[in-house]
Symmetry: C2
Subunit: 542 residues, 2 copies
């Protein structure tokens, strides 16, 4: 069978798995599909309520027996089915598997009068790098179709221990090395707010699904923005924890074994409350006993409390930058930064300029790592079926290029370490100069609001943070507004890519697109940065 | 100037720095030099008392003003001078620098009525990978002579903040990749207990100096036993913390930037009490604010307490193995393991057989990493002066060999990760089977007692633990005894190297040689493993 036929067959499986009664009679005509769940008539009022609830509220109701896992799972299956039909975000749709699990959980609770764990009955969506025993992981490669996984990824098995229900796997871009979501098997995923926009990537299937509320907590991964960009483009919260905080083991990946810049996993969700539920549930399962790369660091309430105290007294100390020296963000992003700064300042916190130290160097270093093997690893995956590379990664996949050698790898790693330490010294200098501890840095995560398809060009706001291995939490701030986000006069590009990114801005085309910022902290500051992100979110709603 | 002349001149600097009045009139004639300090007449009674004290007791007396930093520093300078004259362990002898620092500390205390920090006035010896601004680091390479360091290593600067005094740097084997101590600049370092034995390596200068009590706490590094072997061969305690616990930044190294198996730093000392003093002092300085590879993990008293409670109730759970499947240890080591097992069992603890999972695989993996660049990096350092490789590393340094490529590096790293996780699963299986949490594993650290020069062949007991990145603490147990450690009958070698190691055993030649074991815990279990090591040491003295 040709790879095209294999791909078409595999893609059809997803739709085939959706029961007829959950199918839309006709597809919506507008750019946005956000109103489909309410208007389709396919979800009951209760199901709409469930899917528009929070994960924290759901697990409470589930534990109290006010909701059944079957009811909750059914609601999310139905909403995910609508997401698939409207934005094409799924890799696998697993209603029977999910409902059997939900039934087991309901019976367990009825019999034992206690939950399996803190996520008892909560459906969690999985990016198609996560392996579930008995199902396939393709990462959008035609050549991987039908390779059935024989064991769960560590995170999957720990979430299961904590009581989660798995019901979908979500689509990714071929190779994962792109911040949009398109591959030769499942095609392109769109942004539920506007079909002309990307949901971001590489966890773009998750971004679209969670943005659509076909899931409340979705697992993403991030080596260069792949959790944070879909979070930003779908008006969601997302965390890129430091490497070693959450278990990545036994997930599929590109360039497996590459440890110079570690890909990390983390949740994409609607609130910090839900993010905290997830983080605490995973850490409670002691992931370090399963994944050797995880540091034995339980959830640290004391770290949260430090921030809460500062919030209460209006004494957070924050740095902020709006341009990394390579690419100036579009007007909606600059406005969002200004809004966040004003809200925080009005609450008494100190927000001062942060000089983004040698970010262009960091971005270049990251690119050298991503391209270190000339795409040999990705090329091998493509060669299994003979499918072509998607246009977005054509430049990356060129195995005829000279690859770096072992001494080059070591040299790059040494450069990375030195750069990371220089960054720490800049933080210490800031703290010595101001006499205040720097709690976080606020920055763009992309130079654009949710972007039009095939226009994602500049990854640097994300990748510099991956090089530093800093914790980063994305906070949704606002939406692009053609009335206020006008093109400024007198733009002089900093770089060639700056000119290209700037040229892409069109107030009309981006009107209504989600706009976010990232809040960055040093390594292993998840508790602190989440607490700050929560406060920023609260202030934005005042 | 030829490299031989440069080396001779540099070596002479060390002796030249020793004042005439601290020089031995004649060198001792016996094999052991352990009695030299007491018999030389060069140290006063007070100086003997000081150098035979503990670091913990000294910092207490220093803080209380009962001892001056000048007096303590002078005592250790003198004893280190004797060590240099008898076992040739130093790279740099720095009396003026040290005494100026000690004087400053005494004045500070007198003026401010408080110490600079918890190590106020304590001399700490530094392996010659540590950089001190204004002095050179040669790592025994003739080509590096005279390159003056422009900044301190991070650990050095944090120890200085904590109040330490630096007075010597100690010798290492050329390239560091050897568990003996010999190079073309400073020659060979001997074991103070017997000039025919090695002090181990690569932190062998430290091992010999601390063993001689020319230092109470010395800084070593360990990528394949280099802290633990010198600790074992000099009847000392030493810790190989997990990577990321202590700051390694800005130290010199071979194969800098190699991150597949991280070299780590740690103390070599006379007791766990002193080790704890050191660890707490360094962690108190928040090394993670300076070295990006350090995890923000303060000293965790709670982890210690868990072990203390188990000790009090005689309920530790320990695994033990005597052979790793590659090389059977010599009789003194097997006896030491049996002794430790008996002492622990008698105290009520559970000690059961641990199957050393695929250690030969781990050892092979480590060797592939160490040899990944065919010695290109080391060869470059040798080429600076034209000096030859020491015989011990000749096989390692062969840049004409094919080097591994970037995809090979990734493949090795993936193998490493999988192996580490398989090991964790073996621990979980043990725990599920026994219903008990595994607190530690007791094992040989070398197959031999302190070894005769040029006989160190098998690194595997150490390197398997480096591959796992497990915490390991060496505990001195006993001394080889020709009366009891007889050659067993009917030895059948497991491997070629097993035959060679076995052939080296000679009860007469090893009589009196220090014998140790290592106590191993999962990643980042320093507090726990140190508490267990302390208890083992206590039980051995009963």
């Amino acid at each position: 069978m040709s790879w095209e036929d294999l791909a078409a067959k595999r893609k059809a499986q997803v739709l085939d798995a959706i029961p007829q009664e959950w199918r839309l009679k006709e597809l919506p005509s507008g750019d946005s599909v956000m109103s489909v769940p309410a208007e389709s008539g396919l979800l009951s009022a209760d199901e709409l309520t469930i899917t528009e609830s929070s994960a924290a509220a759901l697990v409470k109701s589930l534990a109290e027996g006010k909701l059944t896992a079957v009811a909750v799972t059914t609601a999310f299956l139905k909403r995910a089915a609508l997401a698939q039909q409207t934005v094409n975000c799924l890799h696998s749709f697993l209603p029977e598997f999910a409902l059997a699990r939900a039934k087991y959980l309901d019976e367990y609770l009825a019999k034992n009068k206690r939950t399996v764990g803190p996520l008892h009955g909560l459906p969690i969506s999985l990016k198609d790098q996560c392996r579930i025993k008995g199902f396939d992981t393709t990462m959008g490669y035609a050549g991987w179709i039908g390779q059935i996984d024989e064991e769960d990824s560590v995170l999957v098995s720990l979430l299961e221990k904590a009581g989660a229900v798995f019901y979908v796997k979500t689509s990714v871009p071929q190779s994962l090395m792109v911040c949009e979501t398109v591959n030769n098997v499942f095609g392109r995923t769109s942004n539920p707010r506007n079909k002309n926009w990307s949901p971001g990537g590489s966890s773009g299937g998750e971004g679209a699904l969670v943005g659509f509320r076909g899931s409340l907590i979705g697992i993403g991964t991030d080596i260069g923005g792949s959790i944070r960009v879909p979070s930003a483009f779908n008006s969601l919260y997302g965390i890129r924890p430091s490497h070693g905080r959450l278990p990545y083991a036994k997930m599929a990946n590109s360039m497996e074994g590459q440890e110079t810049i570690h890909s990390v996993c983390g949740p994409i969700c609607h609130s910090i409350e839900d993010m905290r539920l997830f983080m605490k549930a995973v850490l409670q399962e002691q992931p370090w006993s399963y994944d050797s790369k995880v540091v034995p660091m339980p959830w640290r309430v004391g770290e949260e409390d430090v921030i809460k105290t500062k919030i209460a007294s209006g004494s957070l100390t924050l740095g902020i930058y709006e341009c990394d020296g390579n690419v100036l963000p579009h007007p909606p992003i600059l406005r969002a930064l200004k809004t966040v700064q004003e809200k925080l300042s009005a609450a008494g916190h100190s927000v001062s300029a942060w000089e983004p130290y040698k970010h262009p160097f960091a971005v270049d270093l990251a690119n050298r790592v991503y391209a270190a093997d000339g795409g040999t690893d990705i090329f091998a995956a493509l060669s299994l079926s003979g499918e072509p590379a998607i246009p977005n990664i054509k430049d990356l996949v060129n195995p005829s290029l000279e690859k770096v050698g072992v001494n080059d790898v070591w040299a790059i790693q040494l450069e990375k370490w030195k750069y990371q330490m220089e960054y720490l010294s800049k933080i210490r200098e800031f703290e010595e100069r101001t006499g205040r501890e720097l709690d976080a840095i606020i920055a763009p995560i992309t130079p654009t609001a949710a972007i039009r398809h095939n226009q994602f060009r500049y990854y640097g706001y994300a990748t510099a943070i991956n090089v530093l291995d800093f914790t980063s939490v994305v906070v949704p701030v606002t939406f692009a507004d053609k009335a206020v986000d006008v093109r400024p006069d007198g733009f002089t590009p900093l770089t060639k890519i700056d000119a290209a990114v700037n040229a892409e801005y069109d107030p009309e085309a981006y009107h209504g697109a989600p706009v976010a910022v990232q809040i960055i902290g040093r390594r292993f500051t998840e508790e602190k940065i989440m607490a700050i992100a929560e406060e920023v979110g609260r202030l934005l709603k005042l």
